[in-house]
Symmetry: C2
Subunit: 346 residues, 2 copies
């Protein structure tokens, strides 16, 4: 897993190029405001204009091109996925009452819940536009298959969200790491990895066997990504992640770190931790959250999660290697991404 | 505009039949819950299972059948519109922080904002299912046109919501009745009347000229409906509407009644009314809201709105007559609906 010098620079350059392309595409897709849009489209542009990673469009584009597909074929769909992602973030921030997104206050903290919910809805509606335009460019059959994938993605993502919200609301802690992995598969992998990669493969005309191996790659990469995300939430600097410190503990999220760490705590500390986690956000103090974070670090739960993220990344790397893709800057992006996902600081 | 005896019964019977058909169709479309859906689909079924009018599917079905189309062709799309409608209601209730929906607490008041937002998102995702299945039953071309109509409807509805939310947030009262009508066109007419009717016409294979006349019918009917809705909000009994009394005044909504009535108030009363309307909901009292309602009644704003609703209904009736549809139970439903919209008690 050694990375050649300049790898990270190449990854960054690839993402920068994608960000430019997606920015232009979104500019085309998002209408201009007028007297009867209530400033809606300025807010639709807000989250995408913040320093986004544009990871999902990059995955769709790189997969498509690594398999010999054209960028023009995949760009509208990639932009639709980015719009969907930002809609999801806005609603997710409302649902978790998060404070910061990409280093600035979340949309609902700046403009209120009503406007934020509606902006998310507008983005979901707009994301259908490029998918419907596909019919003219990639043909009716493929366009419909893409719509089906996106509809399935939206449904499974809502199921994943519901699972997580129900766990929090029902104060469920009788969960094992396997429950976490299953929830992440629905909530993160499907929409952030599996669907972008499958969409790229479909638009390159890849057959079922290649798509099957890519699905395995995507699921493993998704797990590595989410576990690393949970780690960064507890270990990362706010300035780098653009999110509040230890937000997951404030929100009481059932992360792998907690499900691994809680059983390792002494009974008194465990009871105190559970009582703290189940309290509503405003009734927690910074000192208590820092205490819990330190406890989890002390019992090795963060190190264990880091090791598991590395293991999933290694497994993803093997799935990718087995595809035997010809060398290209796009293949390099995909393998560079596997390293990035577990080495990143944001 | 005299209505033959039994007309209302016929309308009710038609709606009952539609409700039964849509109930079966939704049962087919909405998945069963399992361990990793967090009880999501039980909540997806909640609003549709409350005593819904199923007005939108009835419009789609009646239009399609009045033009000679088949019920099987239109039923999945009609169910998709009903799902979309209920998703919209859930998010709208969050945005307005409404208390009651169809006689019971709103979803977010019962289960919290996070779960309600996610249930709405799941319903939006599910509504794509039947629209995509259309490809197999009505053909690729028509199925895509229907998807385009629904995508446009979602976008325009979000614009209408944004307009209304911006007016409230920016404390705008420099609005004329024409502004209200334009906002209603985007917010209510498009999704409750124009799209269901156009979808029904498309599925019956109607040409552009018939569809154009139906669009006029739908826009007029939508205005009559919304103005009557605003009236019922102030005059209707809670037990009949299933919504809280004078909710629009609590929420500070810019209704035709207010835009007509406020300029008619004496300066002191006008100032007091504006100050009251702009206050957040928890800072208003029942006595103050009742006072404003009485003021609006006293200056004839409610009577003026009632007269305008009747005028739009009459205009809708003329548009419908000009279509020269052959007599059928479906045509009777459409003309009965015109009367119902302005004569209803809920």
């Amino acid at each position: 897993m050694s990375s050649a010098p300049g790898d990270e620079g190449a990854l960054g350059a690839y993402l920068d190029e994608v960000r430019g392309l997606i920015g232009e595409e979104l500019h085309r897709i998002i209408p201009a405001d007028h007297a009867f849009t209530g400033g809606l489209y300025a807010l639709v542009r807000d989250y995408p204009a913040r320093a986004a990673k544009t990871l999902r469009p990059a995955l769709a584009i790189a997969t498509c091109r690594a398999l010999g597909g054209a960028v023009d074929a995949v760009l509208p769909t990639a932009a639709a996925l980015e719009l969907y992602h930002n809609a999801f973030l806005i609603h997710d921030d409302v649902e978790d009452d998060s404070e910061l997104r990409r280093g600035r206050p979340t949309l609902h903290r700046e403009h209120g819940v009503p406007i934020a919910v509606n902006v998310g809805d507008a983005m979901l509606a707009l994301s259908l536009g490029p998918l419907l335009e596909n019919t003219a460019t990639v043909g009716l059959g493929p366009a419909l298959r893409l719509l089906q994938r996106v509809a399935r993605m939206s449904r499974l993502t809502a199921e994943g969200q519901a699972t997580e919200l129900a766990w929090i609301r029902q104060r469920r802690w009788d969960l094992r790491p396997a429950d976490y992995r299953r929830m992440v598969h629905g909530k993160t992998s499907i929409y952030s990895f599996s669907t972008p990669i499958e969409v790229g493969a479909l638009l390159a005309g890849a057959g079922p066997s290649v798509r099957g191996r890519l699905a395995l790659f995507a699921a493993r990469l998704g797990l590595a990504f989410q576990i690393q995300d949970d780690l960064l939430n507890l270990r990362g600097a706010v300035v780098a992640t653009g999110k509040e410190a230890a937000g997951d503990l404030w929100e009481g999220k059932r992360t792998l770190i907690l499900l691994t760490g809680l059983p390792r705590l002494a009974p008194a500390a465990q009871a105190r931790a559970l009582e703290l986690l189940d309290r509503p956000r405003p009734e927690k103090t910074e000192g208590e959250v820092a205490w819990l974070r330190d406890q989890l670090e002390a019992v090795g739960a963060l190190d264990a999660a880091a090791a598991e993220a590395q293991a999933w990344a290694a497994a993803a790397r093997r799935s990718l290697d087995r595809l035997g893709l010809p060398d290209s800057v796009h293949k390099s992006f995909l393998s560079g991404l596997v390293r990035y996902v577990v080495d990143r600081a944001r």
